[in-house]
Symmetry: C2
Subunit: 348 residues, 2 copies
């Protein structure tokens, strides 16, 4: 790529897009033109990037011409249709949707774990994992390198913004409907107060925990739960790894929280796990139960790394650890990981 | 006990006490006098029970005289001091606090699981488990009877009222402070808005997930997490059962939600698990992913049973099941289980 490469941000107006534009302003300025694309609904809107106003263009063949690298931050069906079109024009596509993550011809990349994978991309597309996988995988991957991962059991407590702008909007609307009264003590009272303001969720998320996210996949599993399994296996290159995930939605704006039970091939100690986590890139160890130091979504939102605390060794198995990990689903969970991939591709 | 026995409700003014008084009004009327006790701060207050106003008395030796059975719904230190005093007067004590649950001379009883245990009570005290254990144990115990439990990994998402009246009050106060704005998107913005209104929690619970509940126990584990392990082992009479629990606090008023990974000795199927759960007393099976039927705290609060959904078999182990269980922490998690124990003792 001669000169500074042209970047397209496809889905610049979305929840992930908004965070990505702020990041472009703060990361090293390695890009030439930055072109903002979204649906035709948004064409003509002005958004700030690198401290300048930039006009949003409609996603089209024409507007994808002359782009060196395109970050796709759009729903799965839009990515499935348009990413191959961009790739056919010679654009390298980094996609954050679910469309290509399982494709054997598309590398699934977490730069702290498998940076090399970015180089072999037969379809011209690189995929970024889902937000729950990304919350846990940097910490778990670091421990895997030392102890050898044998099994994962995780519960991902996903924030509302994991479902995009519509998720955040629904949570804020619902909170206004349920706050101030005595709701949350009678069966269904919250559901009645929320009415049809459920947004993208299958029920009220305010004052509630919704044990569902994604679509129905096989045998009662949700697509999000199976994605955690498949993506973790692919990124860590452990195709036979047993993974049991439960994904629930909690009334948090942004910041996924994951409780992780990890069993390893070799014995573990909390001390050694602390050392590894404290020195792993992309991870912040924040773990001192005596002083009440543990990560929470509200404290880590807006930050880049995955924060890890509550590290305990199983009382029954010297090879098993519990961890509690929090990461901003819009940052490491999407925009940041995609931008890291893009920067590594252009050699920044 | 000649005539109808006299019942004392010690802690009648608390969160569990309030629910218990409503239950006494609706359960079969098997009690003679019902005496309401609390701290001296509450003496003279009037509370409704069995559709009559009754005056609250201060907890004292005198006011415990002539009581056949006392339900203790008070903090651990108060129970530790006063339960033996009541027992020494010949009163049978049913205690919901943590004070006696681990005592080998105190049976720990869940009537659906180990009703017989109530009969041998050398100290005159019977303990009721904690709310997280009670949320999961009826369902897990039923499956254990068929498949033989080999291991549990659970994440308990505990409601604010699990910390009593003060917990509910803190959540409602915090919600009023964080609702309506744009909070939840910058590191610490929720923490700053909540300020010192944390109540009994180690940080903000509104718009957040707090991975801590209880006191610091050994090696980074919280007392609540170790309690789930010890209580489950004791009630199921499986002293060597491996149990790894994570307890987090979520912004829900009442209703604990537990994601359960259970490994059994024998192969399991979802179909057989459904049959067992559908016919087990104290359990409601509510599980149809195709129609979006799964339990949530907001839907099961105010109801007696443990609701179970999201039953899936592990994709990697034919002996492992995932479940999502919700139960009202103030009902089955405390008042109801204690009342069931009391009713079984007097042979009602
Ligand atoms: N939210 C997260 O935490 C997260 C984490 C990891 C991955 N992801 C993935 O990232 C992608 C974006 O998610 P999001 O949360 O930002 O969603 P979002 O807030 O709903 O934003 C969707 C974006 O896609 C654009 N779009 C929709 N239909 C389009 C079309 N037909 N043509 C062109 N653009 C279209 C929207 O543009 P308009 O404004 O014009 O409608 C908007 O910019 C999704 O694939 C999601 O699965 C999200
Ligand atoms: N909340 C739950 O979900 C749950 C579940 C399982 C078990 N438990 C256990 O149940 C017990 C009660 O919990 P809660 O949630 O109802 O707590 P709570 O709302 O704080 O109520 C505490 C009760 O104890 C009374 N009390 C406090 N100090 C006393 C003293 N020195 N002498 C006499 N009475 C005193 C209070 O009376 P005043 O009003 O006079 O202060 C009040 O009635 C605790 O041991 C708790 O661990 C609770």
């Amino acid at each position: 790529m001669g000169g500074k490469p042209t970047l397209a941000v496809v889905g610049a107006t979305g929840a992930v897009g908004a965070v990505l534009l702020r990041m472009l302003t703060h990361h090293a300025d390695v890009w030439g033109e930055i072109r903002l694309l979204a649906s035709s609904r948004s064409a003509g809107r002005k958004l700030a990037v690198r401290e300048e106003e930039s006009e949003v263009l409609a996603l089209s063949e024409e507007n994808l011409t002359g782009v060196d690298l395109a970050l796709f931050l759009v729903p799965e069906d839009v990515a499935a249709r348009w990413a191959p079109i961009a790739a056919a024009k010679g654009t390298v596509v980094v996609d954050t949707s679910t469309a290509f993550r399982a494709d054997p011809d598309v590398p699934l990349v977490v730069p702290e774990i498998n940076p090399h994978a970015v180089r072999i991309r037969p379809r011209g597309i690189v995929a970024s994992p889902g937000c729950s996988t990304l919350a846990l995988i940097v910490a778990v991957g670091a421990l895997h390198a030392e102890f050898g991962l044998a099994e994962l059991v995780v519960t991902a407590q996903q924030a509302a913004s994991g479902a995009g702008r519509a998720g955040t909007a629904a949570l804020r609307e619902q909170l206004a409907l349920v706050t101030g009264g005595e709701l949350g003590t009678q069966p269904g009272d919250v559901r009645r107060a929320v009415g049809d303001h459920t947004g993208p969720f299958p029920g009220p998320v305010a004052l509630n925990v919704l044990p569902w996210s994604g679509l129905l996949a096989a045998d009662g599993w949700s697509s999000e739960e199976l994605a955690v399994r498949e993506e973790t296996r692919k990124v860590l290159d452990l195709p036979g790894l047993p993974v049991a995930a439960t994904c629930v939605r909690v009334p948090v704006v942004a910041g996924h929280a994951v409780s992780v039970h990890a069993r390893f091939e070799r014995p573990v100690t909390v001390g050694r796990a602390h050392e590894i986590l404290a020195t792993s890139p992309g991870v912040v160890l924040y773990d001192d139960p005596a002083t009440g130091d543990f990560p929470t979504p509200a404290d880590v939102v807006g930050t880049d790394p995955a924060w890890v605390g509550r590290v305990r060794r199983s009382m029954d198995d010297e090879r098993a650890l519990e961890l509690f990990v929090c990461a901003d689903n819009l940052r490491k969970g999407a925009a940041l990981n995609a931008l890291q991939i893009a920067e590594s591709i252009i050699g920044a």
